[in-house]
């Protein structure tokens, strides 16, 4: 796999250079596209939007190049590029606006601090993740996002910081269009970076080494080149690109880490179109995304339907999902997948221990409403709802080896469908069944990418799926509507009124217990065995006749259905549900859930229960109820998940060092050293008298 394109020159039989037919076709295609673009631009007077689009695309391209470079040299998909870029912008703001440094100095320091120093940390993380399973790599990357988002919002607040332009903003007139100097600089930076990287890979020893470290770090080491050093350079270059892009975006967007996280999906989309490999295609895709977004924003500006009017903001997510669905599978190679430390299966406890633990757990759960303050009962009920969502995530992640970053979207589908069904007069249980069925269908849709994708690519695809649902479907009548609200009534079951907090807690507990039993039953069924087999070796399963696509459909459907139940239970606490990004059904919660579950282990029921308590209940008690903790809870979740993901690699690394040190002073080595005669000092011939 090549990081840069091959030259469009091949040698013919006589050794003469000749343009390859394929390269000519590619060049012709690009020229035709550019010509069509120019014609359309002139015909519809789109010049200003195209110029702005190219400038925006250039910034996305810089970030996407950084992402591709680091992913291909380390196998770690840096989900945190948005947070990293935001960090650079925040530091830039602190240095320029708060400390009063001149902007060039502030910019350089910001890039050095966040780009270079950050790259060192990221390279270490990537090193410790070498050989880790895809799930753990995703957990680590997600943990970084959660950690950085929490630190940045904790330090700088959640409000968007307005940021004045720092690049020259005077205009240049060209073909009747005014182009800002800052836009020219952004374009030059992106094209220069792509061309520079191209030459770097072709002409420099380090660039060639980066090709090699992609394919085989061991072979590179055997050629006396340290792969760690090569990767460090790759991370430094990639991180600096991301940092620079963060600075460039600040004047247009303001500085807000949550906005940056979303905007940088455009970089994910561009990198996906380039199959996380080709630099020029990545550049072109980023430009295309930028132009399309700007042109569509103009064309849709008159729309009264807000979903349609905001459709242009969804282009990056659409591109991301479409690229992952249609880029040839052979091009989406998972790097570093060969030397995988497979996930250890969850410890199986003896039956008496399980029975005793279950009895104690159920007893405590039944006692909760009577021993905690009445005001806290609802928090426990929410914890139960989240525990059910965690159970569904655990089923996907730990049992079947599939990764989902859209679990709260399934919960939202459940809650909204339940709300609509009860509004239409369905009884509570009937509405719950409908909610589950609709979520199962959504789960099947989300499973489609898993037919061709796994590991980090599947994580990215489900992340995109969740974002699309949040932005395109949540605000429609199908889910929460323009009012962003559906009513989630509490049940009146079998003549018993369960609308009080305490009664609803018991209903939630019973429903959660049934979900847990269903998962235990599923794991013991044939499907459960097939899921475990698929997690270990999908190829072996297929080679024995099992259709793993069907298995994936079943598990995604089951997980979505269970998550929907969780969503209904969560919504029932406040008796309402909405789709605001910061609410319980926001896309970011899907990301945090994965980090929290990773901290709590891989037990199918116990871990989700602990995760539910950790996520929702712990925060009501001191010292976790303090404002400081709630501000920085993401730091704890992020650090915890990072520790879980990195621990095996760190242990191996430190054990290796200890072994090396021990080898140096082992009894055998010591004896050998003492047995040797002392070195003979040989004087130079000239020293003889």
């Amino acid at each position: 796999m090549s990081l840069s394109p091959s030259l469009p020159l091949t040698r013919d039989a006589d050794g003469a250079l000749a343009l390859s037919r394929q390269a000519l076709l590619k060049a012709g295609g690009v020229a035709a596209l550019v010509a069509i673009g120019l014609l359309l631009t002139a015909a519809f007077s789109l010049g200003p939007y195209v110029v702005t689009g190219i400038a925006d695309g250039s910034v996305y391209a810089l970030a996407a190049l950084g992402l591709v470079l680091t992913y291909k040299t380390s196998g770690i998909f840096n989900f945190a590029i948005g947070a990293q870029a935001a960090a650079s912008a925040y530091v830039f703001y602190s240095l320029r606006d708060t400390a009063g440094l001149p902007w060039p100095v502030a910019a350089l320091l910001a890039v050095a601090l966040v780009g270079l120093v950050g790259s060192f940390l990221l390279e270490r993380i990537a090193f410790w993740l070498t050989g880790a399973s895809a799930a753990m790599k995703v957990v680590a990357a997600i943990a970084l996002v959660v950690l950085l988002e929490s630190v940045l919002t904790g330090v700088y607040g959640v409000a968007t910081i307005q940021f004045t332009a720092f690049l020259p903003s005077r205009g240049v007139h060209l073909f009747g269009v005014t182009i800002l100097v800052s836009q020219i600089i952004e374009f030059a930076l992106a094209v220069g970076a792509t061309f520079g990287l191209y030459l770097f890979f072709k002409r420099t020893r380090l660039g060639v080494s980066m090709h090699a470290v992609v394919d085989s770090p061991t072979l590179l080491a055997l050629e006396a080149t340290n792969p760690v050093v090569v990767r460090r350079y790759a991370w430094a270059i990639g991180s600096c690109f991301i940092s620079v892009s963060g600075l460039l975006l600040a004047p247009a967007l303001g500085i807000d880490v949550n906005i940056y996280l979303l905007v940088y999906i455009a970089a994910f989309g561009a990198a996906a179109v380039g199959a996380f490999s080709s630099l020029p295609i990545t550049l072109a895709a980023a430009m295309g995304i930028g132009i399309t977004m700007n042109v569509m924003s103009d064309k849709l500006s008159g729309q009264t339907n807000t979903v349609l009017a905001e459709l242009y903001t969804q282009i990056p997510f659409l591109v991301l999902v479409a690229a992952l669905l249609f880029v040839p599978k052979a091009k989406l190679i998972t790097r570093g997948a060969d030397a995988v430390r497979k996930l250890r299966p969850a410890t199986t406890f003896p039956a008496p221990v399980v029975a005793m633990g279950t009895l104690v757990g159920v007893g405590l759960a039944l006692a909760v409403p009577f021993i905690v303050e009445p005001a806290f009962v609802n928090q426990y009920t929410t914890g139960i709802g989240f525990a059910v969502v965690f159970i569904s995530l655990g089923l996907l992640l730990w049992t079947s080896g599939q990764i989902s970053l859209c679990q709260m979207a399934f919960a939202a589908i459940g809650a909204s469908t339940f709300g609509h069904a009860t509004a239409a007069g369905w009884p509570w249980l009937g509405a719950l069944a409908v909610a589950v069925l609709v979520a199962v269908v959504a789960g099947w849709l989300a499973a489609i990418p898993s037919f061709r994708l796994s590991g980090v690519y599947l994580a990215v695809a489900t992340f995109g799926f969740g974002l699309l649902l949040q932005n395109l479907i949540y605000p429609t009548f199908l889910m929460f509507g323009q009012s962003d609200f559906v009513n989630i009534p509490r049940p009146q079951l079998f003549g018993i009124n369960a609308t009080s907090d305490r009664a609803y807690y018991f209903v939630a507990l019973v429903v959660a217990a049934l979900c847990a039993l269903a998962v235990v039953g599923l794991r013991r069924s044939r499907l459960g065995r097939l899921l475990r087999g698929m997690s270990d070796s999908p190829l072996a399963l297929e080679a024995h006749g099992a259709n793993t696509r069907l298995t994936r459909l079943y598990v995604f459907g089951a997980a979505a259905g269970i998550a929907a139940v969780g969503g209904v239970l969560i919504g029932g606490v406040t008796q309402s549900a909405g789709g605001t990004p910061t609410g319980p059904f926001g896309y970011f919660n899907s990301v945090v859930l994965l980090a929290v579950l990773a901290i709590c282990g891989s037990q199918p029921i116990l871990s989700p229960v602990i995760a539910g308590l950790l996520f929702e209940v712990v925060k009501i008690y001191r010292p976790f109820s303090s404002a400081w903790f709630s501000k920085y809870e993401g730091v704890f979740f992020g650090l915890g998940a990072l520790a879980v993901a990195l621990a095996p690699g760190m242990r191996l690394s430190f054990a290796g060092r200890r072994t090396a040190a021990r080898d140096g002073r082992s009894p055998v080595t010591e004896r050998t050293r003492l047995a040797l005669p002392p070195p003979v000092r040989v004087s130079s011939p000239g020293a003889h008298p």
Partner: protein, 269 residues
């Protein structure tokens, strides 16, 4: 009474990776009730033929038939459910499971392919069948005592036996075994050969065996195909292959192939 099992017929199989022709128009016929060898130096295309036969890599040309069934248009799972089983050179085991669970999941996955809903639950008679097949395969391969051990903790040789047992427990009609003796010592290899021979004699199914260990090949194979650089360079009974200059040249790197041998290859192909 032994059930009549189908032959595997590969006709004009060609596999390309971009511009590289990994397998070039290979035709071979592996009969039921016997072990057929497929040998050749590293990189000759043996595993690629297995991958093409089982649908793991796409064929550029040619056909693969198992008895009356043309498998060419089927997926890997589809070919397996038609009865074409295999083991892998780089072992594909369910590492989180123990030996018994690994072996049992072979027939279970096979039975799960019958209907779309067969994946959801297992009928009682199927459970009995799986248990009986698993026990028989574990006993046949001599790994019953280690049934509760996790396969991730076993040695390479033991893992090979688990993979073989899993394939034997599954009701396949034909087996492709890819370097099953690599990682085994001399004694284990000899025992391995006995297990294969007995299995073929008792069940009547055919085996196509890719193997580097010539002692094993000559011990169990009745007919051998020899590959080099994706081309079939020789075929014949074991003794004939072992004495062939063409085969020696392919293995030892000599390019001195007699004209007589070359014409013999051409006439057989």
């Amino acid at each position: 009474m032994i059930e009549v099992q189908p032959d595997l017929e590969v006709d004009g199989l060609t596999v390309q990776f971009g511009g590289l022709v990994a397998v070039n128009g290979v035709t071979l016929n592996a009969g039921a009730g016997s072990v057929t060898g497929l040998i050749g130096p590293n990189g000759a295309g043996k595993t690629t033929i297995f991958n093409a036969c089982t649908g793991v890599v796409p064929c550029h040309a040619g056909s693969v038939r198992l008895g009356p069934h043309d498998l060419g248009h089927l997926s890997t799972a589809g070919r397996a459910s038609h009865g074409l089983g295999r083991t892998f050179q780089r072992m594909e085991l369910f590492d989180s499971m123990n030996v018994t669970e690994n072996v049992a999941l072979g027939p279970e996955a096979f039975l799960a392919a019958r209907r779309p809903w067969s994946q959801l639950a297992c009928a009682r008679n199927q459970r009995r069948d799986i248990r009986a097949r698993t026990k028989e395969a574990l006993d046949r391969c001599g790994i019953a005592p280690m049934g509760r051990q996790r396969v991730g903790d076993l040695s390479t040789g033991q893992r090979r036996l688990v993979e073989l047992a899993r394939a034997m427990a599954t009701p396949f009609h034909f087996l492709l075994l890819d370097e099953p003796s690599s990682g085994l010592d001399v004694v284990e290899t000899e025992r391995f050969g006995q297990i294969i021979s007995r299995f073929v004699a008792e069940t009547g199914i055919g085996i196509l065996l890719v193997e580097h260990d010539m002692a094993l090949v000559s011990g169990v194979c009745s007919y051998i195909y020899v590959l080099d650089f994706g081309n079939l360079i020789f075929q014949g009974p074991c003794a004939e292959v072992l004495s062939s200059e063409t085969v020696r040249a392919a293995y030892l790197g000599s390019d001195a192939i007699s004209e007589g041998e070359a014409s013999q290859v051409a006439s057989r192909a």
